[in-house]
Amino acid sequence: MDNIVLLVVLPLLAAFLMPVVARSSEVLARTLGLSVLFISIAIILNVWNQSGQIDSQAVSIAIGGFLPPLGINFYVDQISLFFALAVPVMVLLFWPWNRSTSIREYSLMMLLTASASGLILSGDLFNIYVFYELLAIASYSLVAIQGRAAAVAASFRYLLMGSVGSVMMLLGIAIIYTQTGTLNLAHLSLLAPEKLNNILGLGSFALILTGMGVKAELFPVNSWVPEVYGSVSSNLAALMAGLLSKLAVIVIVRLLILLFPQPEALQLMAVLGIMGVITGELVAWRAKDFVRMLSFSSIGQLGLVFLAFSIPGEMGMMAGIAIVLHHMVVKPALFMLATGWRGSLENLSGVARRSPFAVLLFIVLILSLLGIPPLPGFWAKYLLMVGLSSQDGSIYTLGMFIVPVAMIIEIAYLFRLVMIMYRKEGDEAAVNNPDIKVAPQSHSKWGLAIAASVAAMLIAIVLQLQPASDKLVSLASQLSDRNQYISTVFPQIHTVRMQSIK
């Protein structure tokens, strides 16, 4: 169990070692990166297998033997373990395979892996900040390293937004610290009802939300999304849209549950979520190229996620997790399909004839994204709607009307695209700038395989609805269980104390 720490340590080491090793042997350096990822996966699978207890209980790992609250700790429960698994797996899936990739990029990928794993496992607010910053630096650099002028400019704009965001987050953390005098999440959680249940607590939540929101594509600090996704390779876009945004969301939700009991915090998230859904889908409706469409659709989906998590109670938690998991697999798959379909939508005229299988996959994926039953996306949306309608507040009612409108807009643009794809070839394929148009290429086999396996996974879930829904319920109940978090980190704290917290 303790070797969970290796999930952070090994990639971090590899990240620094790789450039050094590459001086002697580039092949060795690449193998180093890959093998670290495989080792990480093996460690997590081992942890999962070895103790069935993780299904119901959580584990806290004190780093270096110093017990919290003084020492720092990693907190491992189903959710964090799942995302910790997702990190190396997805990095592996979207590994920049081609030979021209510089070793620096691999090194940054390892940095990304390490910081992402750390972010999701940390049980300490300051560590979260540090890993978040590392993650940010890794992603700025990964974007900038793509070489194109646009990528650098986009990355710089992203950097400005991101670092102001993290300054705000730091400020928020500082406020929390001055209020409570601790940064350990479990300890904070113990103190939160009396010390953070006030105006300053809310203010700090708003600041942290702003900072984290940059990564989580929260409205309105998400204007970097279309620029960055548009200028980087599909692999990286898939990784950022699929994984990194979700990690930030999960961290926000964890903080929200543990530290901020105020209903205003939820309302704030709901408002921003609604704005994200509607603006994202509206702009995607106008998008003229595939990647931009996906970027804005991603903003919209993240808006849905925030809206879902803003619903108090288990239903919202379930809806949020369902949407997060669903989007986490579907959006990368769509970005993988985008590798062959970069360029104007009009250029995709008739691609269904050339690559029928890819189009079929695309349709399955967007059907699930739209929430068409019985695909998994539907159940997520169903939970969201039920959750929204169970609340009284006017914000939730508004959300209940906005979400369907957004879905209608989404179906309009996605199926407009499908119809273009099924057009007879040569039929009005004219593009405004024929000299600079980008012809659709064939997909990489790897990308298609990812998309196909995601589609297969969706269908498999449909066939196994009952176990899947049970799993979702247990994930949600564990994520929303404050007491379990506290008692895991501080086993010495008596249940009597727990009662008083309740």
Binding site: Y129, V130, Y140, A144, V152, R157, S163, V164, L171, L183
Partner: protein, 157 residues
Amino acid sequence: MPAIEVVLYSGAIGLSIIGLAGLLLLNNVFRMLLALVILEAGVNLLLILSGFRLAGVAPILLPEQMSNLSAIVMNDPVPQALVLTAIVIGVGVQALGLAMIMRIKAQYGTLNMLKIREQLEFDLAVQSGVATPVSAHSPVSLASGRERQLSNHKDEQ
């Protein structure tokens, strides 16, 4: 609150506001980066102050002080550790940003954020092969930008 603390706090807050204002009002990317530095400095200062005691000593507990714990005023070490980390990270980000600015200057030939954004949009549109989002208000810069872009393409070839 003693006067000196008021001065310190207002200084820190003032720095933050200057930094934020700079970020909002300036168009030159290099100046924006400097404003970011100031903002970070302000916030760091604020953090330090939160752990600062007017007559405090370094938070090192000596054996002879164990008997009289309540009499000692110590500075809080945790904010200092935080700020130390934040400064390191900040420096890293600033260096990264600076490097990016140099690349931007080399490729776009400008440091003006507005022009960079226009050029960026144009580049993205060119990459994806869709029409440029030309605004009626700024036909000149985009048209020239496009020509430059095309000539760049030729240069690369």
